[in-house]
Amino acid sequence: MDVISDAELMRRVHDKQRFALEELYDRYVKLVYSFAMKATRDEQKSREIVQLVFMRLWTSSLSFDPAKGKFVNWLITITRNITIDYLRIQNRKNHLVDITDFRAVEAAELTEETVIEQLQRQRIRQACQELNEKQAQLIERIYWQGFTLSEIAEQNNEPLGTVKSRLHLALKILRNHLGLAQGGVRDVEL
């Protein structure tokens, strides 16, 4: 039996075929949920984000164009947008999410990932470890919590330029440790 591609499933979601949405859920809920947990560190909020993401897939006329990239990246973009919208509401109230324990989220069992995915994951994690606290915090705020550079400058009471240089430096560190700079690949123990 052939496996139905993600793009085909998404097309069937458009045609309002329920099984297609359920199949996409089964394939990707872990990704969406893990993303939400990483960003919010809260089970209830993550559940709501999952609800919003799949609701969005079902009800909106979003169309996925396989020519423009992988489904998983497209879904991550949607998830990130929804998560950021969600967090922005909260940040408006709470000013800042407490980020001190953002690594405290429990790692769960690895599922059937390909070796390549594991390698890549390993690499990005190691690269992230190379950032100092301020740099890691900055990536955390921008990528995961969706703050803008100017908002962060304001929060930190720093000039925008300082924040920008920090991000620039952080990206360069990640690049070097991801082996992108000279095209080399670092050794990775699995």
Partner: protein
């Protein structure tokens, strides 16, 4: 990294994080053609941005979540049409009763407006007192929205006036809008005579859709129609930008 920098080089991070205007983005794209150092960094940084989500732990999903999500989407009687519709029936009216749906919509609401109900609703939700979210909504009137700008001819949508208990809310669903960039937002205005009342702002991503729920401060306000403008930021109390959508003027 000791090469001479141009002003456009500074745009890279704004473009990467999506904090730029459409013009700045195009400006930077042009700049990439002749700035070698930016081009090199840009490709790498883009790639990093794409793999960043890999820096997350895989978390086991609660087993009951699928049932919850699906039953909120597929209520037995829920209408299987597209969410936005010009007709009186609106798919939302069929899914009102779900607490999670409310909670989810609360989130959408809060994103887009200033959220004074959030505390009560959310506190109730988190403490398990979900019944506060069960107040039924009734649809009172629909206002179909039409394009007002030749720039965005495909804009259409609907503003639904609903009541919930003592309050009245607007549910605005729009399609065919250009995505917002930078600080730009779409702002909804309630028209009454010559007055224009702010009814909140929303952003639009590449799907061209916008959804906003807004609670009317004065439930008895007279409504002549609605307009939507594209604004430079979300701080305006009067329309400043171009009108992109609105209700058809009433025949006198």
């Amino acid at each position: 990294m000791s090469n001479s920098k141009l002003p456009e080089c500074d745009l890279m991070l704004d473009v990467l994080t999506g904090e730029c205007t459409e013009i700045e983005r195009l400006q930077f794209e042009r700049h990439l053609h002749y700035c070698h150092s930016c081009r090199q960094e840009w490709d790498d940084f883009r790639e990093i941005w794409e793999v960043l989500p890999m820096d997350m732990d895989e978390i086991a999903v609660p087993n009951d979540l699928k049932q919850e999500v699906m039953s909120n989407i597929f209520r037995p009687e829920s209408v299987q049409h597209q969410m936005y519709s010009n007709r009186k029936t609106f798919v939302f009216t069929k899914v009102w009763k779900s607490p999670i749906f409310y909670a989810s919509m609360t989130v959408v609401v809060l994103l887009l407006l200033g959220a004074w109900k959030w505390d009560a609703l959310h506190a109730g939700y988190l403490t398990g007192n979900r019944s506060t979210l069960h107040i039924p909504m009734k649809e009172i009137e629909d206002f179909p929205m039409y394009s007002f700008s030749s720039n965005m001819p495909d804009v259409k949508g609907n503003v639904s006036l609903v009541s919930q208990g003592q309050t009245k809310k607007l549910i605005i669903t729009m399609n065919g809008l250009h995505p917002t960039t930078g600080k730009n937002v779409y702002q909804v205005w309630l028209l009454h005579g010559d007055e224009r009342y702010n009814c909140g702002t929303f952003r639009v991503s590449s799907d061209g859709r916008g959804v906003l729920i807004y609670q009317l401060l004065d439930p008895d306000v007279q409504i002549d129609g609605f307009g939507i403008t594209l604004e430079p930021d979300s701080n305006g109390s009067k329309p400043r930008g171009i009108k992109v959508a609105g209700t058809k003027p009433k025949q006198v």
